[in-house]
């Protein structure tokens, strides 16, 4: 059974690497991705023993626990749907390239989900991060290139911060196993520094403000299925990283926990507000993701601060992550169909929208309840109020995405199929994963009320605002990045000219075009007269010296 743990990431990896050899792109990709996703679902459902492979990397260990099984299920579903949705892309120009990066990203993602040691986790994380770049810039448009550049800069930054933290862990205990991470932190002289680096490294992926700027750029630039997995599961890799590699529940790092909570809350509001002033549906969704990830950061921060109950927190995080992943993936998959005016899809898409808004009976209310059960006491109002901003944001989404006219062209078969798959599962999976307590709590009347009034308030606010503002103002995508980018580009150009002016030593020696030094004239030589006189001098000198 446990060999599947290796096979699952290895299959897309090898397929991806050998796809360049030729062969049928679509068939291979779909088979490979399908098999891998199938394996993921099987492993997630059945569970398995761990697998130790000492000869791989620095001693690899694979395995699953409750949380990663849940995320693995999410990954299996979303990647499977994305693979189906990608069919048209695979047929197009550069389809082979897309397939390669798709499979590599998939391999990295699945690999990190089952990694149980630091190095392997980092391997999967890095593979996924860098391969995803290929997906972001796939379209080749200037916009995509810019998004890719910023994605890469932040990704490298994250990798570096992460590596620093991991090396500190490794210096203490070698290639640490995930289970033993708390023990290692206890031995560290300054656990807060290490934890800070690790947290910051993953925060880039999680889109914690202010490291979120790549998200609103990358999502709209990437092809639809890529956006879906990006928001749905790739972001969650950062979450898993936090859970695996921070000493959650083992030792408390209050300062860091509070920082995460503060940044998370701020991000939840800030991203939602900025998102309200965006023009494109995928950008709005991206901001929504940032906002929602902020809430997850609050949960992790709470845990890291040493508050709350471990088990409840784990469940809450899992439910929230799966709920958000499915709902957001669903919306991303739906966007092109909605924009083209496929009405049924548009109407059905209200389901995930409502779920994200935390409407009663949707998976959203489950997530919101979970959040409330574990959130620190002082924050419950603030957390509830995020539903208002989320509601506003989703209204904005509907506003910019809603079709102006009837469908000009029908939805593609694969498009529809993948969407339906996720839709069905999104209605069931979160409920299935939740504990009985949580389900019961979510179905209470008070929770329902809590689910409805913020939305109502949001609707009211939206109505008032649209009255007050005849022309809806816009904000640049990626908000903070615009001014920063100008500085950066200017600085980079300045650096570059500096560096270029810095003449290399070879430039001097290669000036000599002919390579021939001018023949220098030999010195004139003394004649006999001079020689004889010198000789006399030597004689006298020597004689004097000896005497």
């Amino acid at each position: 059974m446990n060999w599947m743990l290796l096979l699952m990431p290895a299959l897309p990896l090898l397929l991806g690497l050998t796809l360049g050899l030729g062969g049928h792109v679509q068939a291979k990709t779909l088979t490979g991705a399908g098999l891998a996703c199938g394996l993921a679902v099987v492993i997630a459902l059945l569970g398995t023993d761990g697998l130790r492979l000492d000869w791989i990397l620095l001693g690899t260990e694979l395995g699953v626990d409750g949380l990663s099984r849940g995320l693995l299920l999410l990954a299996g579903v979303l990647w499977g749907a994305a693979a189906i949705h990608s069919r048209t892309l695979l047929a197009g120009e550069d389809g082979r390239r897309y397939a390669v990066f798709f499979l590599l990203t998939l391999a990295g993602n699945l690999g990190l989900l089952v990694a149980r040691d630091v190095a392997t986790f980092y391997l999967g994380f890095a593979l996924m991060t860098f391969a995803a770049y290929g997906l972001v810039v796939h379209s080749g448009k200037a916009e995509a290139m810019r998004a890719g550049r910023i994605y890469l800069i932040l990704a490298v930054l994250g990798e570096v911060l992460l590596l620093a933290g991991l090396l500190m862990l490794a210096a203490q205990a070698g290639n640490t196993r995930v289970e033993a991470i708390g023990e290692v932190y206890r031995q560290l002289p300054h656990p807060a520094i290490t934890a800070g680096l690790v947290a910051a490294g993953f925060a880039v992926k999680m889109g914690v403000v202010p490291l979120h700027v790549w998200l609103p750029l990358a999502h709209p630039a990437a092809p639809v299925p890529a956006s879906a997995v990006l928001s749905g599961i790739i972001l969650k890799a950062g979450l898993l990283g936090w859970i695996h590699l921070l000493p959650l529940g083992e030792i408390a790092v209050p300062a860091l926990g509070q920082a995460l909570i503060a940044l998370g809350l701020f991000g939840a509001y800030y991203a939602a507000l900025v998102g309200c002033f965006q023009q494109r549906p995928k950008t709005v969704l991206a901001y929504s993701s940032v906002s929602q990830m902020g809430l997850l950061a609050v949960l992790v921060g709470t845990w890291l601060g040493g508050e709350g109950d471990d088990r409840l927190l784990a469940v809450a995080i899992l439910v929230f992550a799966v709920h958000h992943g499915l709902a957001k993936g669903l919306l991303f998959l739906a966007v092109p169909m909605i924009q083209r005016g496929v009405r049924p899809v548009a109407w059905l898409s209200l389901l995930p929208v409502l779920a994200l808004a935390g409407f009663p009976l949707t998976s959203g209310i489950l997530a919101k309840s979970a959040l409330k059960t574990v959130a620190p006491d002082g924050l419950s109002l603030l957390l509830t109020l995020t539903s208002v901003t989320t509601g506003l944001l989703l209204l904005r989404f509907l506003r910019v995405a809603w079709p102006e006219s009837q469908a000009r062209e029908p939805a593609g078969r694969h498009e529809l199929l993948s969407w339906l798959l996720v839709l069905v599962l999104s209605l069931m999976l979160p409920w299935w994963l939740a504990t009985g307590d949580l389900r019961g709590y979510s179905l209470q009347w008070s929770s329902m009320v809590d689910g409805i009034w913020p939305l109502a308030l949001a609707g009211l606010l939206a109505f008032v605002a649209s009255r007050l503002l005849p022309r809806w103002p816009g904000l640049p995508e990626g908000d903070l990045v615009a001014p920063l980018e100008r500085r950066l580009i200017g600085g980079g150009r300045w650096m570059r000219t500096r560096l270029e002016r810095w003449r290399s030593p070879s430039a001097i020696s290669t000036q000599d075009d002919s390579g021939l030094p001018a023949e220098r004239r030999p010195w004139p030589e003394p004649g006999i007269t001079v020689g004889a006189l010198l000789l006399l001098l030597v004689v006298l000198g020597l004689a004097w010296l000896i005497a």
């Binding site: 021939l516 030999p522 020689g531 030597v538 004689v539 004097w544 000896i546």
Partner: protein, 483 residues
């Protein structure tokens, strides 16, 4: 029995030379070659005898000193005889090719060269100051006509200059000998050491005269100026012999006098430093001049000026490892320089010119000669593995042991400068050339004998890097304390 080898090693080459001169027509070359072979054999036997029995002595015709002539072979002499024999034999092979079809010049060459060989052996074996004078003059008088074989006008005036200065030098030397005889009443190298007063003006003047005379003959800076035109202008085999052996003879005498009668005066601190400084100046100036020469053979000739300087560095050091280093440098330089001159001669022979800047693309037609040049250069630069490296190592080590940093610096810088002039040549040889090297006349490829003799010498200069132990055993201990 084996002490009979001493006179044989002197008279066999001399007689062979005379025979070549007397024999006529087609017989000359065979006679000459058999003379070379015979001389080689006797030299090798002599070296083996010294190796197995230690020092050998022989009084000519049973006449004992002071009126008789005593021949004396110790390790130092044996090594020089070995060098002469090996280099001489290989250069002779080269000469067979070089002078093929020019019987007149060949005749003169063989006669003079065999005479020179005999004189050199006599010089190495001489055990008294006056015999040294005689043999030194013999060497000079055999060497200068060899230079003239090229027949060019420059060589005539160069020879004349050299002759006048050399005569002046030898007269100075003779004056010094006279003074020493006046003080000690003997000419025997060993006895002088015992009888010479410890100091005073007469000793000073005598030593100064002798050393100065030898400096001229050894072409040590500032008396080097006669050497490059003479060595650079002569035919290749002659240049090789002159650079490898003839100048070496005078330097050998300096070492011999230090080892024998004049150790005390020559070890006076400032004298030793002065000689060392002259050596250093030779290394630096010679190398820089070598870099500036437009013609290949002049480059090699100036390289000789520079390389001779290393041996003089012995005087300020004056310890066992420096002794070994200096002598070994003499051997290594002899072999390598002969190879360089032969290789350069092959290029000149082939192209009709040896202008460095026009050697582009000569690597193809002259690959083996260029190879010989390159391999021998390794030793000249003092890079491993080669005889030059071993010598340099020994000199450096003794300089460091005594903390003589200026010598360390000179040796190291000298190596770099040598690389400068060697690679200047190599650079042109490696340059891209579509049409091959420029020529002054229709190219005449060098004969295999010429090529392979150069290559063999070059390889020997590398082999010397691995044979230091037996050769230095043969050399024996540094003769400290006079006699």
């Amino acid at each position: 029995m084996s002490d009979a080898l001493l006179p044989l090693s002197v008279f066999v080459p001399l007689l062979a030379g005379v025979c070549v001169f007397l024999s006529g027509g087609g017989a000359r070359s065979p006679v000459a070659l058999s003379g070379v072979l015979l001389s080689l054999a006797i030299s090798l036997l002599l070296v083996m005898a010294v190796g197995s029995q230690g020092t050998l002595d022989h009084a000519l015709a049973g006449w004992e000193p002071p009126l008789g002539i005593r021949l004396h072979a110790d390790g130092l002499a044996a090594l020089m005889i070995l060098l002469t024999a090996v280099v001489g034999a290989l250069v002779s092979l080269h000469a067979v090719g070089q002078f093929a079809g020019k019987s007149e010049i060949a005749n003169r060459f063989w006669t003079l060269w065999l005479l020179l060989w005999g004189s050199l052996n006599a010089l190495f074996l001489s055990a008294d100051l006056f015999n040294v004078y005689v043999t030194l003059e013999l060497v000079t008088l055999a060497a200068i006509p060899l230079v003239l074989l090229a027949g060019s006008r420059q060589s005539v005036s160069a020879s004349l200059n050299y002759l006048l200065l050399a005569l002046f030098g030898s007269l100075l030397y003779l004056g010094g000998v006279a003074l020493i005889y006046g003080m000690t009443g003997t000419l025997d190298l060993q006895l002088i050491g015992e009888r010479l007063p410890a100091g005073g003006w007469p000793v000073g003047v005598a030593t100064a005269l002798i050393v100065a005379g030898l400096l001229v003959k050894a072409a040590i800076v500032p008396f080097h100026f006669w050497l490059p035109p003479a060595h650079g202008g002569a035919p290749a085999p002659v240049s090789a012999l002159l650079s490898a052996l003839v100048v070496k003879a005078a330097v050998y005498l300096l070492l011999r006098l230090w080892a024998g009668p004049l150790q005390l005066p020559l070890s006076a601190p400032w004298v030793a430093q002065l000689l060392g400084a002259l050596g250093a100046a030779a290394i630096i100036l010679g190398s820089i001049q070598a870099m500036r020469q437009p013609r290949l053979k002049l480059v090699v000739a100036y390289s000789t000026v520079a390389q001779l300087g290393y041996i003089l560095l012995f005087f300020p050091l004056a310890v066992a490892s420096a002794w070994q280093g200096a002598v070994y440098h003499g051997l290594a330089h002899g072999v390598a320089k002969a190879a360089l001159f032969l290789a350069a001669g092959n290029m000149l022979y082939h192209l009709g010119h040896d202008r460095v800047a026009e050697l582009r693309g000569m690597g193809r037609p002259l690959a083996l000669s260029l190879g010989a040049f390159a391999i021998a250069s390794v030793s000249i630069m003092g890079l491993p593995p080669s005889g030059g490296f071993i010598a340099k190592w020994l000199l450096l080590q003794s300089a460091l042991e005594q903390g003589l940093w200026w010598i360390v610096a000179t040796v190291l810088v000298g190596g770099l400068l040598a690389a400068g002039y060697v690679f200047r040549v190599m650079r042109y040889a490696f340059m891209e050339a579509h049409a091959g090297p420029s020529v002054d006349r229709a190219p005449t490829p060098a004969q295999p004998l010429m090529v392979w003799s150069a290559l063999t010498l070059a390889v020997l200069s590398i082999v010397l890097g691995f044979t230091a132990r037996p050769l230095l055993t043969l050399l024996g201990e540094i003769p400290l304390g006079g006699g």
